[in-house]
């Protein structure tokens, strides 16, 4: 598997030269993971396949805007897939509801928070991204496996929570309070790692 720096080179080859073999490397690694992530989040198999492909089309189109100083590649691709998923759910709701279909195919609404979150860091927040993301991964490693499992749930929708609560035979509120505990634990770990 390519290293972090090699991934950056691969994205650059896609952005600068439209390099299809470099894109194929990205596709082979990330498309199956995006699909799996969406399926865990409750997206049906076929739609997850479609959204994973669409995510990769956006990776191609937006490759030039990927900035390794702001986010790791997997985090950047995660946000692209997340925004497409949000838009897809909105379109579905519009189709079911009485509203006219709103054209949000390019994700105006969903992209918004990502834009705000990824504004150029201001002078008082010039923390190195690599260090911050490294800290998150280190904290996840230190977290008990059950807590990582629980944290994963936060990335899935309400219905998945209900399903998981039923699987574990615990009330829905218990799943939610366990998520809260796991987030609190992770935050304490991250705070402890700050210099």
């Amino acid at each position: 598997m390519p290293t972090g720096d090699e991934w950056i080179e691969i994205v650059r080859a896609v952005a600068v030269a439209g390099d299809r073999s470099a894109f194929a490397v990205l596709f082979k690694h990330f498309a199956p993971r995006v699909k799996a992530h969406l399926m865990r989040a409750g997206v049906a198999h076929e739609l997850a396949e479609e959204l994973a492909q669409e995510t990769m089309v956006n990776v191609w189109r937006k490759a030039a805007s990927f900035d390794a100083a702001r986010a790791q590649l997997s985090t950047w691709i995660f946000t692209i897939a997340r925004n497409l998923h949000i838009d897809q759910m909105r379109r579905q709701r519009d189709a079911h509801g009485a509203h006219e279909a709103n054209d949000t195919a390019d994700g105006d609404g969903a992209d918004l928070l990502a834009q705000v979150a990824h504004d150029a860091p201001r002078p008082d927040e010039q923390i190195d991204t690599a260090r911050r993301e490294g800290a998150v991964r280190e904290a996840l490693r230190r977290l008990a496996p059950e807590q990582v499992q629980i944290l994963r749930l936060a990335f899935y929708d309400e219905q998945s929570h209900a399903r998981i609560a039923a699987d574990l035979d615990v009330p829905l509120g218990t799943v939610k309070s366990r998520i809260r505990l796991a987030v609190g634990h992770l935050r304490r770990l991250l705070q402890g790692m700050e210099p």
Binding site: A36, R40, A52, A71, S74, L112, A117, V183
Partner: protein, 217 residues
Amino acid sequence: MIAHHPSDELLLAAAAGTLDAGAVIVLGAHVEGCASCRATLRQFEAIGGAMLESTEPELMAPDALAKTLAAIDAPPPPARPAPAPLPRPSLPEGVAWPRSLAACDVSRWHWMGPGMRWSRVTLPHAPDANVFLLRIGAGKALATHTHSGLELTHVMCGSFHDGRSRFGAGDFDAADGDVRHQPVLEPGSECICLATAQGRLVFDGAIARWIGARVGI
């Protein structure tokens, strides 16, 4: 100085993409002005990245790469002309619109009581989200109310005290049915809040209830 921030759960839900559209608008307004919540949000997105990386991969369809490359070759969707800036009601000097409202329709200020005005915010991508602005004059008090669902508030300017705490510009508040409060404006300047309610505001008094129902917040 921001004293009240959204909870980690709300920020995590935003990072995960499970937050509803109205909440994203109000949370986005806070995050835009809050470096610490921006950092937290990015941290939570990094969790998403780590989760994605560690997910057991799912087999893609045999022709998936070919189909994706074909989609790349297809002409990109025509760039939409930059939308004309939407009309905006007036704001006090020195107060700016949060960027999260950029694509939203914001109505003119409507009267809802002496020294109190409100405006309806319509999200193009979620027209049924209940998002609104309240503009309350210095020293006035909003009628005592509770909430049938979660109410999120971002203070754009001014300050108030609601019995629990003092809220000033940049502060964020989440109140649910357990909170029954009466925001009382501090003297000096008027206060503008951007808010979203999942349920309705439930006012105590008959007149306030009537206005609340008429206004639809």
